[in-house]
Amino acid sequence: MVRHVEIQTRRPRAGFITRALVAAVALGGAPPVAAQGYDLPIREHVLANGLRLLVLERPGDPRVAAKIFTDMGAIHETPGLLGAAHFQEHIMFKGTPTLGTSDWEAEAPIRERMWEVEAALIEEKNRARNTIRRRGVMDDFQRAESTPAIDSLEAELEALEREAARYRESGAMKRWYQAYGGTGLTATTEQEYMKFDINLPVERVDLFLRLEADRMSNTVFREFEQERMILVEQRYGDLNNPSTPYYEQMNALAGVVHPVFWPEGYPTDFYEYTRTGQRELYEEYFVVNNTTLVFIGGVSLEEMIPRVERYFGWMEPAPEPTRTPAVEPRPAAERRLIYRNDDIEPRVEFRYQIPGVGHPDRPVFDVVAEAASRHLAETLSEEDVAGRVSVNTRVVHTSRFGVPGTINLEVTLSDESDLAAAEEALEATVGWLKAGPDAETVDRAQKTLRTDWYRTARDANALAFEIGHFQTMDRWQTLPLYLEARDDATPEDIARVTRIHFVPDNRSVGIARSRTARPGVSEDGS
């Protein structure tokens, strides 16, 4: 079945959000789409094999922002292999049989042999687990890390990699984008998605289709060990920020079950990635019916349909990939973290679990965050507490999810002796929200969100990201409704959602303080 959905809206004018008419042209039973006032004339076409194509046309634009989203991310990882989804993104830059090799005929048999050797290595490690003691026991109780058979197989694998490396042509998945005017070449893996993106001259959009169809079908797992170390480097980069371990502890406190709260991999995890494990991720998730293409710029849906058909139409749909069954249970008690560390500034943080995108209340929390930030800053100023305020909905690097996440109200202090005062300010702000904030503050919060959105909408790359992100979180049609719901939120809505969610049992409190408490500061900062 081919579906073709079209939404047309008029763009909003300054100071007045027009309620535009929406015309939905549905072929094959697509539901009509509700009215909205943001300028998001997104057009959709779904290929027979399930590939979703989304186009936002900007006639006359000389360039096009192109993105390919896969509905797969860190929430599909296994404990002990955290970071594997991100690692897969890196491996997918390593080329295919037609890009990245000087002689595929010679390279291919070596690669085939590597699969066999690695399978034998995995089997041997499983067989020898009592010898090598890699079963999660404490580090200082580990026995030998290896056996003669493991050593032999690892040596053979390394020799094969060296042999295959004679044919590698590094950088091929970037080089041709660069050569043909591609800018903004990036890739990102977060909890719920992986994407590759590029901005190209409109005349060259076929290059994106040719490379990305190849990447999602034929990636060759070259330079595996080098890329493993690059993941280590990126992780070290995060850990160089002394606040990272604090935030990871807070994530672990706020979420007990759901992988959305897991970190991006422990150093021990990086040892464990295998080609076999990565290929399982690749095979299951990088399938055409789990993929969305987004284009914004000087292209039309009518132009793009045959082009996308040409490059992706040959792919067969695959069984629907596995979705994580995890559901974060609602907390039954307040949780409290005392983080003792001399390298980060003292701080107090309240986190509350909130619904994910798709829930009607989720947009209200964007307004809550903006309003709370203002009130909290004012309260601290009135109390003469020197500190920085951040109210956000971030978990790891992402601020929105299709699953429940958290809203985080943080005060970072100049002086540790203000910890108790900062916690009181947080309590006061929560009380203010529950009472229903004043209309002027809500108006300003909404205007800030709206103007920030315009900055996103102006940038084709940023807008294409939001469209693809909403598709992976929920559905792209949610995006304009989400934006409108933020505009429509009232002080009463804020009071209602905070009364439901900002309750002690749903709260995780984080306190960061020095290892040696200063006089007058108790263990919990009070």
């Binding site: 005929e105 660069q178 050569a179 005017g181 280590v232 695959a318 205007k447 103007t451 900055r455």
Partner: protein, 484 residues
Amino acid sequence: MRGWRRAAFIVLAITGSGILPRGGLSGQVTTHPREMNLPAPDFERPDPDELRIELDNGLVAYVARDDRAPLVTFAAFVAGGSAHGEPGLMGSVGAALRRGPEAMAPGAFAEALDRMAALYTVQVGREETEIVLEVGAEDAWEALDLFAEVLRAPGFEAASRGGGARPAGRASSAGGIDYESSLAGAVTLFEDALYGDHPFGLRGVGSVPSPADVQAAHARHVAPANLTLAVAGDFDPDEARRRVAAAFDGWSGPDRPDPVTFSEVETAEPRTVVTAAADKLQGWVVIGHELPRVPLDDEAALHVMDYVLGAYHLDSRLFRESRELRGLTNDNSSFLEPGVRGPGSYTFRTYGRPEAVRLLVDVTFRELERIRETVPTEDEIFVAKGALVDGLWADRYATGLDAARSYAREWLRHGDHDRSESYPDRIQEVTAAEIQEAARRYIHPERMIVAVVGPLDEIRAADAIEDEPQLDRWRRTGSGEGGG
């Protein structure tokens, strides 16, 4: 493994030609990008003369419609920066501009910005200062008046009390250098070694100029003849031009001062190594030296050479050799940063785990030598030219906002747009021999400054071994546990 994909892997493995049949397996298109006959972009940048207006007081503005979103951006580019005048002086002018118009009560400017949900930034560079105000279209003309007011008469008194000097260092800083961000620390370390007492190296630490001095510096530099404006957004351009003229009408100032040409700096043999210890999991390296003023005749070849060598975080020689082939770092890129009327710098920046740092430095120097000693390949030149013209150059003029900003900056520096207009042709004409010549003229490995910030003891203890990618060593020494 899913059946059809497993079959695809096997077929790919045994395909005799090494390249799939044209039209591909099951219809897949596998044509090599160079054989796709991708059309040349039909891109023409907007005519700068159609965007430019000149007011009676000498102020030049580029006004461009940009209706991608209901926003309006006002940007001012000032031909004055921290190197002009005593250390800290222009920093204090920047502080005054941040504080808001003199006529507004303290806090009123911030309140107005908040009410408009505005973005407002002031960045004081060495030779130029950039002030940007961006608001929703409904607030455009109120914001324009505010922007004009703050440019013309900022609040000097309050700003001088607040000080234009660098903020006091945190616990992790020493000598005004913040090592919390190791890259910034390494760059600062490098620049201190490069510029020394040159005006580009002086920071106004602790200096607080008098309000009268700040006011005089403002009058000299932030004047209609000494700045250009970029105005872009969702408006009627005719109305915008009228509004801009009205907002800046009556603002008089001195003629544009003769441009200050700053003296060159030059490193000397042998290489200099400067270090700073930081308790981090990685070490950061900045290798480089001065970049003299680049004649127009050299510019294109230098840009192509630089792209081949170290295009930022993209496929380049440095990136391939240190990241892709050896797994030593997440990035190794070049930074070609010319001055406007003074020296610039040409640096190569990378970072990695302590045991990789010495090898990273070694690999970087090997590539610097190689690009001087050999001509680039045809593919490398093809990629660089396409990226510079169809990518980076086209991007600078792709939208109304981009074009207005680019033109305003060009006018401030050159008084015309000839250099940028001829850029695509000049790039296309560059030859392999000219690229090598540019490398020899602008890269001098024998007299570079090597700035290293990180866990110095661990960095020094590591062998510069060519054992790629060092995973085995990392694993068995257990150094990977440090990040846990």
